[in-house]
């Protein structure tokens, strides 16, 4: 890394559209400097003139230092990024944050619940768990509509390793599952071979909180329910303050918390 708050130059190596207003980007180091990262961590992209924003790894850096992200166009920085071409130079800092607790997942029945653009932060851990034959795993992926779904190619690859249920607020035909992921827990539990022992979830905070409440009410320990939070992670190093959650900084203490930790943080303040 160049420095503390100073990005490293990286190139855009590949771009393709993947879902509503979303694109799949591959990045590679411009200076040959490689880094490693863990599932659940994030990085920042700097677009000169537009500032910097945090994104999750869709794939961890490979032997050449190449890594991927699924990015939805939402603000001015992502709008500028969507005007970039292959070969363009942007800034990178990272990796930041903690990671999914892989050692606490192996050998357990793991249910992954993703909502909308919350699927990409779960992709790297889904890849790692899929590679471990001792870990039964299933995925429920909820979206507003079929057009909003992302990670088409990744999902088709995961189909070989795990049952996947896809739900829609607005299905486009009667064969598609209607409702939220929680409306279809019984079906996925049947495919998983029993009630889940661990939940991994990422999506709108309202959805994640509902997921946590549902499984706690059904007897799962709060320490076994893991959520990846989104906050405005501006600096990534626990300084700028924008990502606070009670006394915790999501960019360094998170973004992955279990429900026990979050319950304690929610008791401190209302934000």
């Amino acid at each position: 890394m160049n420095g503390f708050m100073t990005p490293q130059a990286i190139h855009i190596a590949e771009i393709y559209d993947d879902g509503e207003a979303s694109r799949h980007f591959t990045f590679e180091p411009a200076d040959g400097v490689k880094h490693s990262a863990k599932p659940g961590q994030f990085f920042t992209l700097a677009l000169p003139g537009y500032g910097e924003a945090a994104f999750t790894y869709l794939s961890l850096p490979d032997a050449e230092g190449r890594f991927k992200a699924l990015i939805r166009q939402a603000g001015s920085l992502t709008s500028a990024l969507f005007k970039c071409d292959v070969g363009d130079l942007v800034g990178f800092r990272g990796p930041f944050g903690n990671s999914w607790p892989i050692n606490q997942l192996l050998g357990k029945r793991v249910l992954i619940i993703a909502g909308g653009i919350g699927l990409p932060p779960l992709a790297t851990i889904a890849d790692q768990l899929a590679a471990d034959k001792s870990t039964p795993i299933a995925l429920i992926y909820g979206s507003r509509s079929p057009a909003d779904q992302v990670l088409k190619y990744e999902r088709s690859a995961w189909h070989m390793y795990m049952p996947i249920l896809e739900t829609f607020d607005y299905p486009s035909n009667q064969e598609q599952l209607s409702g939220t992921p929680l409306d279809h827990v019984a079906e996925v539990e049947a495919k998983l071979g029993g009630k889940p022992e661990v939940i991994l979830t990422c999506g709108p905070e309202v959805m994640m909180n509902a997921v946590a409440h549902h499984f706690v009410e059904n007897g799962l320990s709060p320490e076994s329910i893991w959520l990846a939070l989104e906050r405005r992670m501006h600096c990534g190093i626990g300084e700028c303050g924008h990502c606070y959650l009670g006394s915790s900084y999501v960019c360094t203490d998170g973004p992955v918390y279990n429900w026990q930790q979050l319950t304690q943080l929610h008791a401190q303040t209302t934000t």
């Binding site: 160049n2 420095g3 503390f4 708050m5 100073t6 990005p7 490293q8 130059a9 700097a46 000169p48 003139g49 537009y50 500032g51 910097e52 924003a53 939402a74 603000g75 920085l77 992502t78 130079l89 800034g91 709108p204 905070e205 989104e230 906050r231 405005r232 501006h234 600096c235 190093i237 300084e239 700028c240 303050g241 924008h242 990502c243 606070y244 959650l245 009670g246 006394s247 008791a267 401190q268 303040t269 209302t270 934000t271």
Partner: protein
Amino acid sequence: MKAFILEDIEHLRDHLASQRQVFTPQYAEDSTELDWLPLTDKTASVTAERPVLPTYPAKQFFFPDREILFQFDGSAFKETLPEVEPQVLFGVRSCDLCAIAYQDQFFEQDPYYQARRKATLLVGIDCNQPCEGGFCPSVNAGPFIRDGLADLACHQREDKSWLILAHTSEGEALIERLNLQAADPNLIAQRNEQETQVAAEFPSAEHIETGIQRINQAQVPAETWQNMGLQCLACSGCTNLCPTCSCFTSYDRPVAEGIERERCWDSCLYDAFQREASSHNPSADAGQRVERFWFHKFSDEYVKSFGRYGCTGCGRCEKTCPGVIGVHSVMKRISAAL
């Protein structure tokens, strides 16, 4: 720690100025604001009585309101660390020294902060009387300087002579050539006794103590935060003047070739402080933001990390708030809310 006796504190100040640039609180011409300015021939003499705090704390010397982080020339990002000439801050009060110690921990890994901080020596002055609105004794931040928080701590005795405590080797080196007379160890004990007397002169801070308890026991009714949120103009006066506030944002500024990334002070009381690109805002409500601000100043959670509260009792927020939600007003309302 070595202790010395000095008759004329200006002699020390001038001696420091012969080695480093000295900044000290003083009134600029035609100004009623006490500000941190370079020492000149016209700078007033030093007193420990009727202390007045500078409008701004010393944090701007280490964490300036604006600074360049890096430059981008179209092909590479180049870090721009500050280059700071050796300097002395002369006359820092105990509350502000506690705040510097707090920020030293908070910005421990920050090379911009550390470059400025390492170029700076701190000379503190014990406050022999309470200042208006200050409550440092209630948050263990004064009125006398805590061991190790200044390179030199200056204490004016009743006979107007000064007891100089060198807390660091850099502090000792600063005064080495003055050949000061070593102080009788009894004077240190006398200073400790005097601190108890000065602390007792402060007005009652029962509302502060009760408020701290209520915040830590999550006993403040949501309605109280809501009402205070309505009275917050989100002007950032309190966060700018607070000696421990550290939130910042950054933005890119176009320059002749490429851009500069600048960081500047931000405020957790602004409505968009936590707003994400998706419009999701975890603290969209002003009452929540006011709650979070005071939690950050008085929660025991931060004592675990920093060894003290985020408030050092300087009272600047009360003076600057154009509404009625400075520290005394807030803590009185929290105390009365049950």
